[in-house]
Structure formats: C-alpha cells, structure tokens
Symmetry: C2
Subunit: 104 residues, 2 copies
DNA sequence: GCAATACATAAGCATAGACTTATGTGATTC
DNA sequence: GAATCACATAAGTCTATGCTTATGTATTGC
C-alpha cells in the first residue's frame, strides 16, 4: 500500500460505487455484483484494487469472501487531506456539524 | 466539474506533487515547472486537469498565469469523505486535535 | 468422489491517459 | 513592428487500465 494509492483506486466510478455499497454493510462478491452490469472477474479485479489500496478488507468464510470497508483507508484519506486544512474555510462549520452529530 | 473528478485528477503522482507545491503558495506555470522533469505542455495539461477538477484556480496576469489552490476543491473532498465518517474511528481524536489547533 | 458454487488468475483486446514535438496566441520588450 | 516570452492547443506515440473469455482452485452438497 503506497502513500496515496487510494486516489487511483477511487478514480474509477465503478470502484467508487462498490466502495459506497460496502458502506451500507459487509457483503460478498456475488451480492456486490447485483445491480452492476459487470462480469465476475471484473468485480474480482476491482475488489483486488480496492484491497491493495487498503480501502477494503476481506474475510474468507468457506467458499465465500466477505468484504467490508477498512476504516484505516478512511483514516488514510483524512490524514492526506489534513495537510491542506488551512485551505478549508468550511472547516469550522464542519466541526460544528460533526460535534452536533456526535451529541445525538 | 463532475461529482468526484478530483480522484482522477489526484490519481497522478505528478499532479499530486504540483498540488502540494501550490499549497506552499501561488505560483505561475514556469515557476511550478522548476524541479520537475517535465515539458512545458505536459505541465500545462496537468494544470488543465487540476483546474477542470476544481482543485486549483488560475488568474491571468499579463502573459503569466498565476495558479493557486482552490479551497472549494478541498471542501469537495471533505464533503465526499464525510459520507464515511462512521467508519473513521480516529474521528474523535482528530476533532480534538483540530480544536486544540484552532485555539492557538 | 463428482458436480456445483464462489471466487481468483491468465491472457488478450480496446480505450484512456500521460508524454512528446510542433505550432498557435496573446502580452511584453526593444 | 519584430523578436521574445509565457503559456495553450494539436497530433501522434506508448503504456496503463478496464473489460472480456477462458481457466484454475478451494469449498460445499449430494
């Protein structure tokens, strides 16, 4: 996993959609493929890229493989972004929003 | 500027380096090219991509064009990332850090 | 154990993208 | 106003990438 590999991984719209779908809950490759007009190998390759980038994690369960979001990947992105915090004027508003959200 | 075009724009290591360099202060294309082993058109094309993605802004000054980071691009990235805040365990720590930083 | 299932891997193809050289365009300098 | 400067744009090349079909490899069910 390189420094900012997640950019290349998420540059593809299909992989973004997969990632987004996994955000709703862990899933195996076959379930993930529902709704996508994609061959099984294509999905497998996409999952491989997301995994190499550290964005998702996998867990073998029998002949199935369960995929889920890897929180570390999210943290990586936040870390990268934090370098540019000074350029983020909405920062204070966002903080307020997050804090309010956390109080619920 | 599409939904998440910034991913494709920053998927390229050269463009990330350019973006990073602009974070230190606004610069024109010729100054930006210093230290990069790149032809002038290549740099111009990279800047075009970053601009289309909404990551940088440009300002014509005579025959020079001054480039700078577009804060809106940073905000866009944060907005995209915020969808996955629930997967970010370091979130609370990060918030604390930001708040402490803001107090200074 | 044999067929089926759930995946990964291999190989090939077609398009996208990053680069080059060549050229165009507007601003400056003399 | 002619040369120069600071860029953008055009066109072509080469590699990366996303897809396909074909095949390999565990695991499960009967």
């Amino acid at each position: 996993m390189s420094e900012a590999e997640f950019f290349k991984a998420l540059a593809d719209p299909t992989r973004r959609a997969v990632f987004d779908r996994l955000a709703d809950g862990e899933m195996n490759a076959t379930e993930l493929r529902q709704g996508f007009q994609l061959s099984q190998p294509a999905m497998s390759q996409h999952l491989g890229v997301l995994r190499s980038a550290g964005l998702i994690a996998e867990q073998k369960l029998g002949r199935n493989v369960l995929y889920r979001i890897n929180p570390g990947g999210i943290a990586q992105m936040h870390k990268w972004l934090s370098r540019y915090n000074t350029f983020w004027p909405e920062r204070v508003e966002e903080l307020k929003r997050l804090l309010k959200e956390m109080d619920q």
